[in-house]
Symmetry: C2
Subunit: 362 residues, 2 copies
């Protein structure tokens, strides 16, 4: 492994939000420095990094200087522009690589990729016009969900089409952007697999997380998810197949629907995130190795750590004004507060999270 | 509690070594910023802090500007000069306070203070000349340990006097600095109590740690220490009495000797450290709340966290070239590597540590 990094090296991180911040904290524990690149001068990750670049993602001069100042580049968000990735990858290793980015940025490419691997997804159709939407609705039926192919997150860029709703109305809602229509999946639960693949191809998954959303944003993650073992195996196998097909390096999160109950339950892939993931925040206290340390290990060419779980887990996001409860949370025995250090608690903004790890069997 | 800080506030830390670094990491998890003041431009804590001041501890202009830029001041080493403490305390709360510093900086003041509280220590005598040393040796006998009153740490500034050794030889060894002679304590073990006291007077101790030293430097800390319950209670009570008498705010560590075995074991205080402590590093993975978070909670006026232990603990320091084993440690399942990011691995320098938490009963 000639390109294995050593402590003292610098990790370049594109994006300065809470994920970049928690990556930088994990890197510091391992003796690594972080250099954060972000256009927002108030990025919370800047406060814990050895170096920072405030520049736009299309500032190629700044990107080149950034890449040359670091030893490896990673990112905290999947919408890194392809050209940005190309510029930094010209001088330093970029993990996860460009293919993972391209696949995860485009919901159509993502679903097509999964389908080609034989991994179940919701039924889907590419939709580039109102006429195509009408035809796709005829094929998949309603309810269905129309989503922009690109730049959707936390429930943004999508509209649910109810039976009887006109194609034109839904189409107008997305403003004519290239889209994908996804057939309705009668799921019983949403789960995710957070996993990592090393530079040597080693793969290590955390146990499936059971996720509950509110207003399209992750609200609570719980473990154990209580999946039947066949469904759990199918979920982990799907994540591994995806990571291997992408020649992936780093932490990956695959969101899935659980369809059906009991031993007949199966999973369908909903979304791939080529990065550390909100549903993996529980690993900071709840697993032997946090997803942030795991990602750092992977991109440095180091061995992956143990993903063993330490107890029964509940991770709750603190969205917007919910962060005002910080002092009550601090007073709860066993509640682990994470405050992202963001100055303004706008509605819908992820401000922090709290994790409780209870002994197994309680 | 009108002076309680809120997330977004800035903690000023005097000292930029690994303790300052781990304090800053813990503060960041709670949404706080850190500002590190240290004369060494290569301080490892700088890499994880929002702001840094490179200046000498007697640079009063820099100290005043630093204090005015932060909301509370703390420190990572007990040899903060009294005048430095006075300058920062003139504009911002300093925790722990000047009395704790003054007591811990002077081995004679420290032992006298403990003795006045009725807490057992090694027998001791103040020694300011060769003649006083000879007299003290006559009273306490040999073996005994002659220590400088100030600026000792990790076994520095002390000499062991064997039976038959001349007072003059020992006295010359310390270069004539004001000293304390400590009678020999036939201890079976060395332990420490790491504890915290909040601004409201709340007190919370971690379980006693069993410490083994090598070449005068902490080598391994293990828990549980297996102390008889009466000795454990006496140790925690001594730490609490010390913290209360100092009107202490923050984490304190009290090193003690265990004298005798079994139910007849008792403890004698050896040293008070008014700060987070090497023997408390295990709390990062091994306790519900790390000593670093606990210190931050205390100095911010927040409730103390749970000190519950999570399993059987072994924390091992990585001294000097031992840090070169980092990649083997990363490959050990369940081993938690902490690398302090120091560039040069000088002999005797604390470069990192590794903690293993095993399930109880294994």
């Amino acid at each position: 492994m000639p390109d294995r990094l050593a402590p003292g090296a610098t990790i370049g991180i594109l994006g300065g939000g809470q994920l970049g911040r928690m990556l930088a904290l994990a890197a510091a524990n391992l003796g690594l420095k972080s250099h954060i690149f972000c256009p927002d001068p108030h990025s919370p990750a800047f406060d814990v990094a050895a170096a920072r670049t405030v520049a736009e993602y299309d500032d190629e001069t700044a990107l080149r200087a950034f890449a040359e100042a670091v030893d490896v580049v990673t990112y905290e968000f999947e919408n890194v522009p392809a050209r940005t990735a190309e510029v930094v990858a010209a001088s330093r290793p970029l993990h996860p690589g460009a293919r993972a980015l391209a696949t995860a940025q485009d919901r159509l490419a993502e679903k097509t990729f999964a389908a080609e691997l034989g991994i179940p997804t919701a039924p889907f159709r590419a939709v580039a016009s109102e006429a195509e939407l009408a035809r796709a609705l005829g094929e998949l039926g309603a309810p269905a969900i129309l989503k922009t192919r690109r730049f959707g997150y936390d429930g943004k860029g999508q509209v649910r089409i109810e039976p009887g709703m006109a194609a034109g109305e839904a189409w107008a809602h997305l403003g004519g952007a290239p889209a994908i229509l996804e057939g309705f999946v009668a799921f019983s639960r949403e789960i995710s697999i957070v996993a990592a693949r090393g530079r040597d191809g080693a793969f290590a998954a955390y146990e499936p997380c059971w996720n509950e959303h509110r207003n399209g944003i992750l609200d609570v993650t719980r473990l154990p998810a209580g999946l039947p073992s066949a469904a759990e195996r199918a979920a982990v196998d799907a994540a591994q197949a995806i990571a291997e097909a992408l020649d992936y390096v780093g932490v990956i999160a695959v969101e899935m629907f659980v369809v059906g109950e009991g031993e007949r339950a199966s999973v369908a892939v909903n979304e791939i995130a080529p990065r550390v993931h909100n549903s993996g925040h529980w690993t900071i206290e709840g697993a032997e190795t946090s997803q942030f340390e795991q990602h750092v290990r992977a991109i440095c060419g180091w061995p992956l750590g143990s993903t063993a779980r330490r107890g029964r887990i509940e991770m709750r996001n603190l969205i917007g004004a919910e962060i005002e409860a910080w002092s009550e949370i601090l007073a709860q025995p066993g509640a682990h507060l994470h405050h992202y250090g963001k100055a303004k608690a706008r509605p819908g903004r992820k401000m922090g999270h709290v994790t409780v790890v209870a002994p197994e069997g309680t």
